[in-house]
C-alpha cells in the first residue's frame, strides 16, 4: 500500500472508533426522544428507535399530569435570578479583592477558599433548619440564596477576581482621573472589559442552578413550586413506579432546549467550563 492509502485507512479507522465511542453518549438522547413518543406498551416491546405509532398526546399529558408548564417557568426564573444576582455580587466582591487595598483582604480570601473545599451535603442539614426558622421552606428563596452565597458563588467571585487582576490598570486609572467613583470604575470600565469572564460565570451559574437537585428536594413540597429536575422524577403512578412514556417525554422537553442552546453556542459554553475548571 502507498502512504496515501495508509493515511486514508488510518484516518477511517480513527473516525470509526470515535463513532463507536460516541454511541453511549448519543444513544441515551435518541432513545429518550423516541420513547417519549411511544405508548407505555410499546416502550417494553421490541426495541426500535422509530415508534410504530407516534403518540404526540404524551407531550400534552405531561402538562396535565402535573403543573409542568409552571414547573418549567419556575426553573427558568430561578436560574435567571441566580445568574443575575451571582454576577452582581461576585463581580463586586471580586473587584474589591482584586483592586482595592484593605486590611483583612488576605483573611477574607482564606475564608472564601475554605468554602470551595466544603460540599453542599455538609451544610445542608443546618441550612434546612435555618431556612425553616426563617419561614422560607416551600418557597423559592432558598433556591436563589443558597447558590448565590454558597460554594458556587465563591467560585464565581474567584473567577471574577482572577480576571480583574489580569486586566491592565491604565483605563481604570484614567477613569478615576475623570472623576469616577470606585463603583463607577467597576460599572463603567471594569465590567465592560470583563465580558468573557462574565459570560463564563453566567453560563456556568445558569446551568448549575437549572440542574440543581438536592436543594429543591429538601426545601420544596408543593407541586406548583417544583423545579424541573424535581418534576422529572415525579412522573410516577400511585405506587411509585415510573410512568416511563410520560417521564421520558417530559425529560425530552427539559433537555432539548438546553441541548439546542448548547449546540448553537457550543464553543462559548465549552470555553466557559474550561476557564472555570482551570482557574477554579
Amino acid at each position: 500500500m502507498t502512504t496515501k492509502q495508509w493515511r486514508f485507512l488510518n484516518r477511517t479507522l480513527w473516525t470509526v472508533s470515535l463513532l463507536i465511542a460516541a454511541v453511549p453518549f448519543v444513544f441515551p438522547f435518541l432513545w429518550m426522544l423516541s420513547s417519549g413518543f411511544k405508548s407505555a406498551a410499546e416502550i417494553f416491546g421490541q426495541p426500535s428507535l422509530i415508534p410504530t405509532v407516534w403518540h404526540w398526546e404524551n407531550f400534552v399529558e405531561v402538562f396535565t399530569y402535573q403543573p409542568f408548564a409552571r414547573q418549567y417557568f419556575n426553573s427558568l426564573y430561578i436560574a435567571v435570578s441566580v445568574t443575575g444576582l451571582t454576577l452582581v455580587v461576585a463581580s463586586l466582591a471580586g473587584y474589591a479583592l482584586a483592586r482595592l487595598r484593605f486590611a483583612g483582604a488576605g483573611l477574607l480570601m482564606l475564608f472564601l477558599v475554605s468554602a470551595l473545599m466544603v460540599p453542599e451535603e455538609v451544610t445542608i442539614v443546618p441550612n434546612f433548619f435555618l431556612i425553616r426558622w426563617m419561614g422560607l421552606t416551600d418557597t423559592h428563596l432558598p433556591l436563589i440564596l443558597l447558590p448565590v452565597f454558597g460554594p458556587h458563588g465563591v467560585m464565581a467571585t474567584f473567577l471574577m477576581r482572577q480576571y480583574f487582576v489580569a486586566l491592565p490598570k491604565e483605563l481604570e486609572e484614567a477613569g478615576r482621573m475623570d472623576g469616577l467613583t470606585t463603583l463607577g470604575v467597576w460599572w463603567k470600565i471594569a465590567l465592560p472589559m470583563s465580558r468573557p469572564a462574565l459570560a463564563a460565570v453566567a453560563i456556568i451559574t445558569f446551568l448549575f442552578s437549572w440542574n440543581l437537585f438536592l436543594e429543591p428536594l429538601v426545601f420544596l413540597s408543593s407541586l406548583e413550586l417544583f423545579t424541573l429536575p424535581l418534576a422529572l422524577s415525579n412522573f410516577t403512578d400511585p405506587y411509585g413506579a415510573p410512568l416511563w412514556h410520560l417521564q421520558l417525554a417530559a425529560t425530552s422537553l427539559a433537555v432539548v432546549p438546553i441541548l439546542a442552546v448548547y449546540i448553537i453556542a457550543q464553543r462559548q459554553i465549552v470555553e466557559s467550563f474550561a476557564m472555570s475548571g482551570v482557574k477554579g
Binding site: 484516518r11 473516525t15 460516541a22 453518549f25 444513544f27 441515551p28 438522547f29 432513545w31 416502550i43 421490541q46 426495541p47 455580587v89 463586586l92 466582591a93 474589591a96 487595598r101 483583612g104 483582604a105 475564608f111 468554602a115 473545599m117 466544603v118 460540599p119 451535603e121 455538609v122 451544610t123 442539614v125 443546618p126 435555618l130 440564596l145 443558597l146 452565597f149 454558597g150 458563588g153 490598570k169 486609572e173 478615576r176 482621573m177 469616577l180 467613583t181 463603583l183 437537585f213 438536592l214 428536594l217 429538601v218 429536575p229 422529572l232 422524577s233 415510573p242 417521564q247 421520558l248 425529560t251 427539559a254 433537555v255 438546553i258 457550543q266 459554553i269 465549552v270 474550561a274 475548571g277
Partner: protein, 309 residues
C-alpha cells in the same frame, strides 16, 4: 502614580471630612464585599459551625429533644453502626472506579481531539453534551435503558447472544452501572481540561522528539505526559472530590440499593437526615465527609506543589 494624582484631584463619591484616601478605599472595599461576606456568614459559615455542634448531640427530629452526647455519634458510626463501614467502602469503591476510568477516557479522547481535523467539533460537541444535561435527566434515561429484560441495553446484548443481568437490581452490577453512567456523563469536562492543556504544549517539543526517531508512545511518555502532570493532578482533585459528592445520580438510579450496595456517603447523609430524621448522626457523617474532602484537597495540593517544582 495614581495615588499622587488622586491626592491632587480627589475622586468623587464617598467624601467624609478627615477621612484618608486609604481609609476610604478600605471602607469601599468592605462595602463591596459585604453582600458576599454577609451571605457567606449566614448560609455557609454559620451552618458549618452548627453542623459541628449538631454532631455532638443526640437529636431525632421527631423527638424534638436535643441532648449533648459528646462524640457518641462518631463512635457509633465507627464501631456500632454496621452500615457506616459499608457506606465508606462503597464511597471508596465508587471513587476508585470512577476516577481512573474517567481520567483515562478523558485523556484518550483529548489526545484524539486536540488537533483540528474534519469532524473534530462534531465529536467534541457529542462527548461534552452530557455535561450540560441535568443529572436527573441522565439518570432517568439510563435507569430506563438498564432495566432487566425490557431495557434497551439488555435487548441489544440479547441480539448478540449475551444474557445481560438486571443491572440496577443486582448488588454486583449496580455499582459498576452507576460508575460507568456517571463517567459517561462527566468525562467531557475532564476531556476539555485536557484539551486545553494539550494545546499549550508547543509542537516543537514533539517535532524535536520525532526527528530523533521517537515513536508515538515514546513521545507521549517522554514529552506529553510529564508536561500534563500539573493538569492531571488538578483533574484528579476535582474528580475525586466530585465523586465523593455524588448524590442525585445514586438517588435516582438505585436509591442506594440493592442491599445498600450503592449507598455512598452523600446519599447516606441525606437518608439519615431527611428520611430517618437522625440529625445528630447525619451531622457527624457530614463532618466525616468534610474531613475526607479537606484531607484529599490538602494532600493533592501538596502533591501539586512538589510536582510543579
Amino acid at each position: 502614580m495614581s495615588r499622587a494624582e488622586n491626592t491632587t484631584r480627589p475622586a468623587r463619591g464617598l467624601r467624609v471630612p478627615g477621612l484618608t484616601l486609604r481609609r476610604r478605599e478600605a471602607i469601599e472595599a468592605w462595602l463591596m464585599t459585604s453582600p458576599t461576606i454577609i451571605g457567606f456568614a449566614i448560609f455557609f459559615l454559620g451552618p458549618l459551625i452548627a453542623v459541628f455542634i449538631y454532631s455532638t448531640a443526640e437529636w431525632n427530629l421527631l423527638s424534638r429533644q436535643m441532648t449533648f452526647v459528646g462524640l457518641a455519634n462518631y463512635t457509633d458510626a465507627l464501631t456500632v453502626n454496621a452500615d457506616f463501614w459499608q457506606v465508606m467502602g462503597n464511597s471508596v469503591i465508587f471513587a476508585a472506579g470512577l476516577v481512573p476510568l474517567n481520567m483515562a477516557l478523558a485523556l484518550a479522547l483529548a489526545l484524539a481531539l486536540s488537533r483540528p481535523f474534519f469532524g473534530v467539533v462534531f465529536f467534541r460537541t457529542i462527548f461534552f453534551a452530557p455535561v450540560v444535561t441535568s443529572a436527573v435527566a441522565w439518570a432517568i434515561v439510563w435507569k430506563f435503558l438498564l432495566q432487566g429484560e425490557a431495557g434497551a441495553v439488555n435487548q441489544m446484548l440479547a441480539s448478540i447472544g449475551i444474557d445481560g443481568p438486571n443491572w440496577l437490581r443486582e448488588p454486583d452490577w449496580a455499582m459498576a452501572a452507576v460508575i460507568v453512567t456517571r463517567v459517561i456523563k462527566m468525562v467531557g469536562l475532564n476531556m476539555i481540561l485536557y484539551i486545553a492543556a494539550l494545546q499549550t504544549i508547543p509542537r516543537d517539543y514533539e517535532e524535536a522528539a520525532r526527528l530523533e526517531g521517537a515513536t508515538h508512545w515514546q513521545v507521549f511518555k517522554m514529552v506529553i505526559w510529564p508536561l500534563l502532570a500539573p493538569t492531571t493532578l488538578i483533574i484528579m482533585v476535582i474528580t475525586t472530590i466530585g465523586s465523593f459528592k455524588v448524590f442525585d445520580h445514586i438517588y435516582l438510579m438505585t436509591g442506594g440499593g440493592p442491599e445498600n450496595g450503592t449507598l455512598v456517603l452523600a446519599f447516606y447523609i441525606y437518608q439519615q437526615a431527611f428520611e430517618f430524621f437522625e440529625v445528630g448522626y447525619a451531622s457527624a457523617l457530614a463532618i466525616i465527609m468534610f474531613v475526607i474532602v479537606l484531607a484529599l484537597t490538602l494532600v493533592q495540593f501538596a502533591l501539586r506543589r512538589r510536582q510543579v517544582r
